[in-house]
């Protein structure tokens, strides 16, 4: 479906990626809390490097190609493909906490979206409960947000959440965090472009160090974040 009402779609996207969306985005660090604890990330430059790494690998090869397939499957009402890619994304989450995060946020989205007037077909609801990205794709599609814009917003929302987690954990000043966001935002258009061109065979990204950080976070003695 093509929309001419770009302004409304843009505003919808701002709403969808807002940290105030009650799906708990700010409660997860995705292993960063342990990476700080063990000395891998101790300053602004290292936080930037950690995030840049995830942008150029994880976002390009996993999040964006799968988000695109979920969005397309919703658009074409291809339930089988939607199921396949929702499962694929969960299977690509390497640790218990990363899976729980995906599912917790998915469950929160599944209950929130209908209250925002976003139709969630009955057969899709279980998929959203198991996979946050499926819920994001459903909302973006329903609100006529073009795929590339939705993908850019998805990345930006992630970047803001994790940067702010980093600012708190390291800790860094608020300005340092804002500088990181401003700097890394310049890469997002290219990341979207490349990510949308990834073919099925090249989907997937393992990050051994991040997986170790996320796993050891499970038993970290003092922790604020849920992942």
């Amino acid at each position: 479906m093509v929309t001419t009402d770009c302004t409304l779609a843009q505003l919808r996207l701002l709403h969808l990626v807002s940290p105030s969306l009650p799906i708990g985005g700010f409660t997860y660090s995705q292993g960063l809390e342990w990476a700080v604890e063990c000395g891998w990330v101790t300053n602004e430059a290292q936080l930037m490097e950690w995030l840049d790494d995830l942008l150029t690998t994880n976002m390009v090869h996993l999040e964006i190609p799968i988000l695109a397939r979920l969005y397309k499957a919703i658009d074409e009402k291809e339930f089988e493909a939607l199921t396949y890619w929702s499962h694929y994304l969960i299977a690509s989450r390497e640790t218990r906490e990363l899976r729980e995060e995906e599912r917790n946020r998915g469950r929160a989205l599944a209950s929130l979206l209908p209250k925002l007037g976003i139709a969630v077909p009955k057969e899709i609801a279980p998929l959203i409960k198991g996979c946050q990205s499926t819920g994001f794709a459903q909302a973006a599609h329903f609100w006529n947000i073009p795929l590339a814009a939705a993908a850019a917003g998805f990345i930006w929302g992630w970047l803001e959440n994790i940067t702010l987690a980093g600012v708190k954990i390291v800790p860094l000043g608020q300005t340092a965090g804002q500088k990181i966001i401003a700097q890394l935002t310049t890469h997002i258009p290219d990341i979207v472009k490349t990510g949308l061109q990834i073919e099925d065979d090249s989907i997937g990204n393992a990050c051994p160090a991040l997986a170790i950080a996320s796993t050891l976070h499970e038993t970290q003695y003092t922790r604020i974040y849920r992942s």
């Binding site: 950690w50 790494d53 690998t57 640790t95 065979d201 989907i203 393992a206 997986a211 038993t219």
Partner: protein, 282 residues
């Protein structure tokens, strides 16, 4: 949506090894037999051994002198109902430097209501190798599985880093057709090698996988990790699969740690005491 090789077709010369090995295990009269053994090219196995009476131990032999550019190895293992097999290799698998032709090893492990222990020794990727290693595991019904993969980029023992070449890894595990785990790692330059969320410049990385529904197992297995390795080895449990990941600088450490975990896991997963393959002692 099946994963295909990403090696271009024109990168393969007719002189290259195209090796295939298919092994099928079945339980007959209370004992697992290697009932199917089809091979093409230099991949082979020695005769099956029975140090534990009914469970079949098999040693997989790679082409003499390792895997060179252009070689394509396909390994297909099929473990059928109630049968139980342990497969290992007598030594490390070496992937050699190549000028342009890629080498690949694709392995498909299918376990249907049986049990497979897949414990190959490490893969060593020489500087300049261009290699692809794909492993696909299909578990069906009540299948149980313990497997590991240990990869070494370059030769840290002689201070040779993987400063050129390319390595692509993919590991996919399915339970009754549904994807349970997908991992894909591409190392194509120094940036990938030193990437802080990936390998952090460490040459050795490995993963051990074990099916289990016992949530308490993960705590007892974690307690076995020696203090000085506690930042190199991490153990998590996802959807009925225990995963241990190693990232460090020593294949020997990875092997020793995984072997200890395997010994501790075996009674719970395979319902047997540990029985170390004799070939590891030689």
């Amino acid at each position: 949506m099946v994963a295909h090789s990403s090696i271009p077709a024109n990168a393969i010369k007719s002189s290259d090894w195209l090796a295939q090995l298919h092994l099928g295990f079945s339980k007959i009269a209370g004992k697992t037999h290697l009932v199917e053994r089809h091979r093409k090219g230099p991949l082979t196995v020695q005769r099956a051994l029975y140090p534990e009476q009914d469970l079949c131990h098999v040693y997989l032999l790679h082409p003499p002198g390792g895997v060179a550019g252009g070689d394509q190895l396909h390994i297909n293992i099929d473990v059928r109902k109630k049968s139980a097999a342990l497969i290992t290799t007598p030594g490390a698998t070496k992937f050699y430097r190549t000028s342009e032709a890629w080498s690949s090893q694709h392995q498909t492990l299918t376990v249907s209501d049986g049990c497979l222990e897949w414990l190959p020794q490490e893969n060593i990727f020489f500087p300049g190798a261009k290699s692809e290693l794909h492993t696909t595991v299909h578990l069906k019904g009540d299948a149980t599985f313990i497997g590991w993969e240990i990869n070494c980029l370059g030769r840290p023992s002689v201070q040779e880093s993987f400063d050129h070449g390319e390595a692509r890894f993919r590991f996919s595990l399915f339970r009754d057709g549904l994807p349970l785990l997908h991992e894909r790692l591409v190392i194509k330059d120094q940036k990938d090698l030193f990437s802080c969320a990936k390998l952090r410049g460490q040459p050795v990385f490995g993963t051990l996988y074990a099916t289990t529904q016992e949530t308490g197992l993960v705590e007892s297995i974690r307690s076995l990790v020696p203090e000085h390795h506690k930042h190199e080895l991490a153990i998590t449990l996802i959807d009925g699969l225990l995963i241990a990941r190693y990232l460090g600088d020593s294949t020997e450490s990875a092997r020793t740690l995984f072997c200890d975990l395997w010994k501790a896991l075996r009674p719970a997963v395979v319902k047997r005491p540990p029985c170390t393959p004799r070939i590891w002692h030689t």
